[in-house]
């Protein structure tokens, strides 16, 4: 392990509460964070450090659990425990709340924009995943295209495929579901079973051929789409678990991120540590192997909730924790 993760900056982002999530805007110039203090903060780079540019305080009545930037970078969506999802429009350094999406029965756990920018997915403790469409003419109008109840428990995370119109979700029911559109309605096409406890996070590899999941069972699983037996067109797709990383994490793995630039895999763990895994190049593509490249055992003083790679700068990594802090890291691979 001659690869390193060096701390660049650490700062308190959400005073006296948890920082739940951090997200880079598509250009990588801004970092959005959200937390238990019901606020969203937008951070911008000032020289070598990150400063708070905007504070969005009154959008939600309860914890803001996740935030997501639209692919164009002009909109920000926030998912909250108050059962609503807020869509914000960027106007210079400020953000204006465009619309509030209601419908979930209770806490919204995640929101994600499709790469096309026309679709949005949300998921909730009410076990459902909702797909919304933005009206082309009216940026304030979001219409619910589908409601899917494939999970039997709290849905923790949703993520879109980087290039296709495909959605994945994971849940407290230990499963991952993959959805595709069929006749104007979204349906669950595959259920990925294998984890033995809550699946907290999901991330696609840069090409979209593989999906990585992380779980309360302390493992990370890599899934690959494979041709179903019989090869019939239009039948359900099949995803197989092609790799399991176990024995690396001491506690629940809360988040996982696949670097779009380098292919490195970073994890956020309940043992307060941040880890980076590299893929072994010699392995068979249908049986990938990953090894632990770098590990920061006490990245934070409490659970690490989120980890995110910078979209433009290779090796730049950000994490956030239950102690309200955000940490910015530089990962360097010796090889």
């Amino acid at each position: 392990m001659n690869d390193t993760v060096a701390l660049l900056q650490k700062f308190n982002a959400h005073p006296d509460s948890r920082c739940w999530y951090v997200a880079w805007n598509p250009k990588g110039t801004l970092l959005a964070s959200c937390g238990g203090d019901r606020a969203i903060r937008i951070w911008g780079r000032e020289g070598d450090s990150w400063e708070c540019k905007t504070l969005l305080q009154d959008g939600h009545q309860r914890t803001v659990r996740k935030v997501a930037w639209s692919p164009c970078g002009n909109y920000l969506a926030s998912a909250s425990f108050d059962a609503t999802t807020c869509i914000w429009k960027k106007k210079n350094d400020d953000f204006e709340c465009l619309t509030v999406l209601e419908g979930h029965e209770n806490e919204v756990k995640c929101v994600a924009w499709a790469p096309s920018g026309n679709l949005l997915a949300t998921c909730s403790r009410d076990k459902s995943v909702w797909i919304w469409e933005v009206d082309e003419e009216n940026e304030n109008e979001y219409e619910c295209v589908s409601v899917v109840n494939s999970h039997t428990q709290d849905v923790k995370h949703v993520v879109w495929h980087p290039t296709q119109e495909l959605l994945a979700s994971c849940s407290y029911d230990n499963n991952v579901c993959v959805y595709k559109e069929e006749d104007d309605d979204w349906e669950c096409r595959a259920t990925l079973e294998g984890h033995t406890s809550t699946v907290w996070g999901l991330t696609f590899d840069p090409s979209g051929q593989r999906l990585a999941s992380c779980s309360d069972d302390c493992t990370v699983k890599i899934w690959k789409e494979c041709q179903p037996e019989g090869g019939q067109e239009g039948t359900d797709v099949a995803w197989k678990c092609v790799c399991t990383l176990s024995g690396f994490h001491g506690r629940t793995v809360y988040d996982i991120a696949w670097c779009p630039l380098t292919g490195a895999l970073a994890t956020a763990c309940g043992d307060d540590g941040v880890r980076v895994f590299k893929e072994d190049e010699t392995a068979d593509p249908d049986q990938p192997a990953f090894s632990l490249s770098a590990h920061v055992p006490k990245a934070h003083t409490q659970d690490v909730n989120c980890i995110a790679w910078h979209p433009k700068e290779a090796g730049l990594l950000v994490s956030c924790s239950d102690n309200g802090e955000i940490a910015v890291w530089n990962y360097q691979s010796g090889v």
Partner: protein, 141 residues
């Protein structure tokens, strides 16, 4: 004579066992009868709940369909399409078959479709009077 005295002792010796068996048979019979009664009540109550829910969605759907069917704008057309989809799902539902293997799945589809319809029609969905939500107001992660 010997035969008769054997019977006599038999009666006494096996009394315990005999009463045991008789008691068991009576109890089993009573339990079965009571079980049938309880089971029937249980089934009827669950059937009624499910039926109430499905009928509510159906009535809701038909009412809105009636209200929107003469409206020609694009949005109304879209909503009608989803309403038709909801009504279709309910009509396909086998009302007389309690052992229908896809009952749970189909019910979830109907419920999901109903929520989508409400969202499109801007009808707020606060069913706290009718539906018990599991532990709201607690800590969430």
């Amino acid at each position: 004579m010997a035969h008769k005295s054997e019977d006599l002792f038999d009666c006494i010796l096996m009394a315990d066992d005999r009463f045991h068996v008789e008691g068991y048979r009576e109890g089993f019979g009573e339990g079965t009868r009571q079980g049938m009664i309880d089971g029937r009540k249980h089934g009827a109550s669950h059937g009624a709940k499910l039926s109430m829910e499905v009928s509510f969605y159906y009535g809701f759907g038909i009412t809105w369909k009636f209200l929107l069917q003469n409206n020609t704008d694009v949005k109304a057309r879209k909503r009608l399409k989803v309403l038709e989809s909801l009504l279709g799902l309910i009509q396909k539902f086998p009302h007389e078959e309690p052992q229908y293997e896809h009952l749970q799945e189909d019910m979830e589809k109907v419920r999901a479709k109903f929520r989508q319809v409400c969202s499109l029609l801007n009808v707020p969905t606060d069913f706290s009077d009718y539906v018990k939500s599991g532990g709201s107001g607690g800590i969430s992660f």
